[in-house]
């Protein structure tokens, strides 16, 4: 990955490109190879080695997952302890970073992945001011999280390696100023404060100056070492902000429209509604046989989008094209077979004559299931059910249509009445939903409703640890919503084996 970092237009003579092929093989590398000494990284130099396109995308997606979960935590107002607890398995899974002490062989591979994924996302999110702000905020949170969980001595080494504009107060100066230093910076022997201070221009610590927590001498502030972490974090944010601005300016010049632009675009979309890979595991599989008649009963497990479609269908005995497509694919994901699905729609469109139905609607259902259709790739499987991301980035429904995500397409007031009609009456939940919608975090709103509706079951499942931890991640796909809802409500029956042959082990396997 090339990124413009130096401001001078002359390349250092030692680093000029060696073009003669005979000399090239012995030429020194033109770029400085990053040597990942520490677990943490200030991401000041961009990576320079080559990686495959797949790695480029995969690593970025992994980091994105981590950042999305982090964002979800902050939206749900979790305390810092809860957040670090929650994030630990997520980080383990997606962006594992061992400390130097662990002597794992994976160290440099992990750190390389971390490094590259950061810079990839920097490119992806440099486009608009809003994205930059969100990215910077989340990266700082991640940095803070990692910094806190680091070992003390490694932390110190890392900070020493950063070329910050502060200097430690030397022993002679410390001796002369000791009394004043202690008085000014709230030194407390009992608290175990270290007798170490560093000095920096006072403009770097205006908050501490404001509270008279530093000693000032001729424009230099003498700060106690415990404030260092805050300063490192602030420096991180500042450096990231300026890096993002720089990236934004150079973005138009990037001439990678065929390779990287689609990936980057796809990544930036994921912030709107995070990626959710639909896989077979999202269907109930053998857990329960779903038939056409069951749909009405099952609809209480549906997410709002599908419930909305179902209600519209029942109300008007009709749905327009996109609504039908979305719903059909969802039903396919639930486990409804083609036969059952056809029967379902026939019965639902009861006002339409047989031959009209067969000629106008039947083909579409079959096409969605992959039964017909020219696309050899999709033969037999059909299209994948739409994820939340897809629903949230498609065009909004027009008059007479009801597809998409209602959290987005309904006005807040209509949304409230819809939720109440469904049975969500808790004022707290409704208020939270309104907030989330206000911030355009629609999938968070949906998750909130899910949690409220299944509060009891979720608590029980957590206490008994009967479900693997990934079951508590943010829901990003309507089918996922359905599956979890169904499983939670029928937990007892799953265990007893009434539903599904393999019960929990099926669950475990399908993670």
């Amino acid at each position: 990955m090339q990124a413009v970092t130096s401001t001078s237009s002359r390349i250092d003579a030692k680093r000029r490109a060696v073009l003669d092929p005979r000399k090239r093989q012995f030429a020194k590398s033109e770029w400085i190879d990053p040597d990942y000494e520490h677990r943490l990284n200030f991401y000041q130099t961009p990576p320079t080695k080559d990686i495959s396109l797949e790695d480029f995308e995969e690593w970025a997606i992994a980091r994105l997952k981590v950042l999305s979960e982090l964002e979800a935590c902050s939206f749900r107002n979790r305390t810092p302890e809860e957040t670090s607890e929650y994030m630990r398995p997520v980080l383990e899974k997606w962006l594992r970073l061992d400390s130097n002490k662990s002597r794992s062989g994976e160290l440099s591979a992990q750190r390389k992945k971390d490094h590259y994924s950061h810079w990839t996302l920097r490119l992806a999110f440099a486009g608009t001011a809003e994205l930059r702000q969100r990215f910077a905020k989340l990266e700082t949170q991640l940095f803070k999280l990692r910094l806190q969980s680091d070992y003390d001595d490694e932390k110190r080494d890392f900070i020493k390696g950063l070329k910050m504009s502060w200097e430690m107060v030397g022993p002679e100066e410390k001796a002369t100023l000791l009394k004043d230093l202690k008085a000014a910076t709230g030194f407390s022997q009992s608290r175990g404060d270290e007798e170490a201070w560093f000095k920096v221009d006072w403009e770097s610590v205006p908050d501490l100056v404001s509270q008279r927590q530093v000693l000032l001498k001729r424009g230099k502030a003498y700060v106690h070492i415990r404030e260092q972490l805050t300063m490192v974090q602030n420096a991180f944010t500042r450096s990231l902000d300026s890096g993002l601005e720089l990236a934004a300016r150079f973005l138009p010049r990037m001439d990678e429209d065929n390779r990287l632009a689609p990936i980057l675009h796809h990544l930036s979309q994921s912030f709107v509604a995070p990626e959710a890979n639909y896989s077979e595991s999202n269907s109930l599989g053998d857990l329960a046989k779903v038939s056409a008649g069951d749909i009405d009963g099952m609809s209480k497990h549906f997410p709002l989008c599908m419930q909305n479609l179902h209600r519209e269908l029942r109300k008007n005995s009709h749905l327009k094209h996109y609504g039908r497509l979305q719903y059909t694919l969802f039903l396919k994901g639930i486990g409804l077979s083609l036969q059952e699905c056809q029967m379902f729609w026939r019965k639902a469109f009861k006002l339409i004559a047989d031959d009209k139905f067969n000629s106008e609607y039947l083909y579409n259902i079959r096409h969605a299931y992959g039964d017909v259709g020219g696309d050899a790739n999709k033969r037999g499987r059909g299209y994948t059910p739409y994820s939340c991301q897809k629903l949230l980035t498609e065009a909004l429904p027009g008059p007479g249509q009801s597809h998409g995500c209602p959290y987005r397409s309904y006005t807040p007031d209509n949304l409230m009445s819809l939720l109440q009609a469904i049975g969500v009456n808790d004022r707290e939940v409704l208020r939270g939903v309104k907030e989330d919608v206000g911030r355009q975090r629609y999938h968070i709103a949906c998750n909130r409703v899910f949690e409220a509706a299944h509060k009891v079951e979720l608590k029980k499942a957590k206490d008994e640890s009967s479900l693997p931890s990934s079951n508590f991640d943010t829901i990003l796909h309507p089918n996922e919503y359905f599956k979890r809802s169904f499983v939670l409500r029928n937990l007892g029956m799953v265990k007893k084996g009434d539903i599904g042959v393999d019960g929990p082990s099926q669950e475990a396997m399908s993670q």
Binding site: R10, A183, A184, P206, V209, S210, L216, K217
Partner: protein, 509 residues
């Protein structure tokens, strides 16, 4: 001659002629109006001769005033000499806002060039001055903002023409403030630079001063301002490293500070807020100030202790009456102590504040402390001392980049005194009542001119002396010029260093 009107530019006229009312028949340029001494040397009159052509109308409007004025106009009417002179005091008051007086002041006395150099930070006009906002308060209470000028002369011209009662200095903006409506993006017109300012107002001290209240001040309560200046000045220089701090008398009852260091000028709102909060001391009712005391507070306490003993305890005597003494008792959180003190003072009324202050310690030593330890008592006494002496700043003035503040050397409309800079090297000697008023200054010019004529100084010698040098304004202007010179020297040094750095880096193509 930067700002004063040089008599050399005037057309030659019969100076020694007593009979002819020397009025320049031709007024060459508006701002180059010659000022000649009044032919009636006996009557020490000021010369609003300039108003003739340009503001003849205004002369008519203010005819009554100026006729009764000590300083009657030199319009060729014979009415002048026969006018009875009314009691000076009554006229003095209206005279401070009198157009003609102000015009004279702006023409002859106010050091525009020095002000220009101070705000411009170099000799030739640049954006620093040209994009500066000035706000004029005109005669009719009209407040005109977003004025800007391309040079010192234009600035002076505008003042002479519009004779504002006072003007204030605002920040330097990204573009000329007069062009602010022409930009498309709202964000492109915004303030970029302004000196760091502080405002100390005597009314904030009303709760603790006994001699005066409100707008009135006297030598006794002026000491509070001196205390405040001492503490803030040393903090700015020692703690923050600012070198160019100018203290200015606000004209009636306080002082302003202007910090012109480049580092200070370019600070944003957050940093100004930080400094303001650093200097402001808010007493916590219950817990008292955090101990151990921050070195700044420690140093302030050392500076203020002698003032406390002298100015507060003995001069102000804030706890003389029983009612006032109860305020003191409220500040002591120990019930036993306060009851014992109350008893003592009830039995022996008319104890002075100094005695009462000492009583606190003596009564406490006799074992009347219940909830407080002796150390806590020491701390509380320190807190009380700080409460009564520590500077009380108007923090809002300092916190915002775009705050407008009265300029040095304007005239305070209420008192007529010039807002002169205060020489911090001789802080204790500063007497607010010795600051010259505008009428006094104009008088002094005439006195000097008359004296010069008597001594038969040559035209050449007379022309070398500028008007402000003939008056008591001289030391103040010289102090200000010295301040500006030091600032400019610093600025040019910094600029040179920066240019050298940039030069070394620049690539040659």
């Amino acid at each position: 001659m930067p700002h004063a009107i040089s008599p050399t530019s005037s057309p030659p006229e019969p100076v020694m002629d007593d009979t002819i009312m020397s009025n320049a028949p031709a007024q060459p340029l508006e701002d180059e109006v010659p000022l000649e001494p009044h032919s009636d040397a006996a009557m020490l009159d000021a010369e609003p001769s300039t108003v003739d052509t340009s503001s003849g109308k205004l002369e008519d409007i203010f005819d009554d005033d100026s006729d009764n004025d000590e300083f009657s106009s030199s319009v060729p009417t014979t009415v002048d000499s026969s006018q009875p002179a009314l009691a000076p005091a009554a006229q003095e008051k209206s005279a401070f806002t009198d157009l003609s007086i102000l015009k004279q002041f702006y023409q002859r006395l106010l050091p525009f060039r020095a002000l220009f150099q101070w705000l411009n930070h170099s000799a030739s006009p640049c954006a620093d001055f040209q994009h500066r906002e000035f706000a004029f308060t005109l005669q009719s209470d009209v407040y005109v903002r977003y004025q800007s000028f391309a040079s010192a002369d234009l600035f002076r011209k505008a003042c002479v023409n519009t004779t504002p009662l006072r003007f204030e200095i605002g920040p330097q903006y990204t573009i000329n403030p007069r062009d602010r409506k022409t930009v498309l993006k709202a964000g492109s017109f915004r303030p970029v630079m302004k000196e760091l300012v502080f405002d100390i107002d005597m009314t904030d001290y009303d709760p603790i001063r006994t001699c005066c209240t409100g707008a009135k001040i006297c030598h006794k309560c002026w000491q509070f301002i001196i205390m405040a200046i001492k503490v803030v000045d040393v903090a700015l220089r020692e703690d923050f490293g600012f070198q160019h701090v100018l203290w200015v008398y606000s004209g009636r009852r306080g002082a302003h500070a202007w910090v012109s260091d480049k580092r200070a000028r370019t600070m944003d709102d957050a940093k100004r807020r930080a400094i303001a909060n650093y200097l402001v001391l808010k007493q916590d009712e219950k817990k008292g100030i955090r101990r151990p005391l921050h070195p700044h507070l420690d140093r302030s306490l050392d500076l203020l202790n002698p003032h406390f003993t002298k100015d507060v305890l003995s001069v102000q005597d804030p706890w003389a009456t029983a009612e006032q003494a109860s305020k003191l008792l409220d500040l002591l959180p120990d019930k036993v102590l306060t009851t014992a003190l109350q008893k003592k003072w009830d039995s022996a009324p008319n104890r002075s504040s100094a005695q009462k202050w000492a009583d606190i310690d003596s009564v406490a030593e006799n074992g009347n402390l219940s909830t407080m330890s002796p150390k806590q008592l020491v701390d509380t006494r320190q807190d009380i001392r700080l409460e009564y002496t520590y500077p009380r700043l108007d923090a809002e003035v300092s916190k915002k980049l775009n705050h407008l503040l009265k300029s040095p050397f304007v005239i305070h409309p209420g008192t007529g005194r010039v807002c002169v800079p205060i020489d911090v090297r001789r802080l204790e000697d500063f007497d607010p009542f010795a600051v010259p008023t505008v009428t006094q200054l104009l008088q002094e010019i005439d006195t000097w001119d008359a004296e010069a004529r008597r001594q038969e100084m040559s035209e050449e010698e007379k022309s070398k002396v500028e008007d402000w040098q003939k008056t008591r304004l001289k030391p103040y202007v010289e102090y200000f010029r010295g301040y500006v010179a030091a600032l400019l020297k610093d600025e040019s040094r910094v600029k040179r260093e920066r240019d050298e750095e940039a030069g070394a880096e620049s690539m040659e193509f």
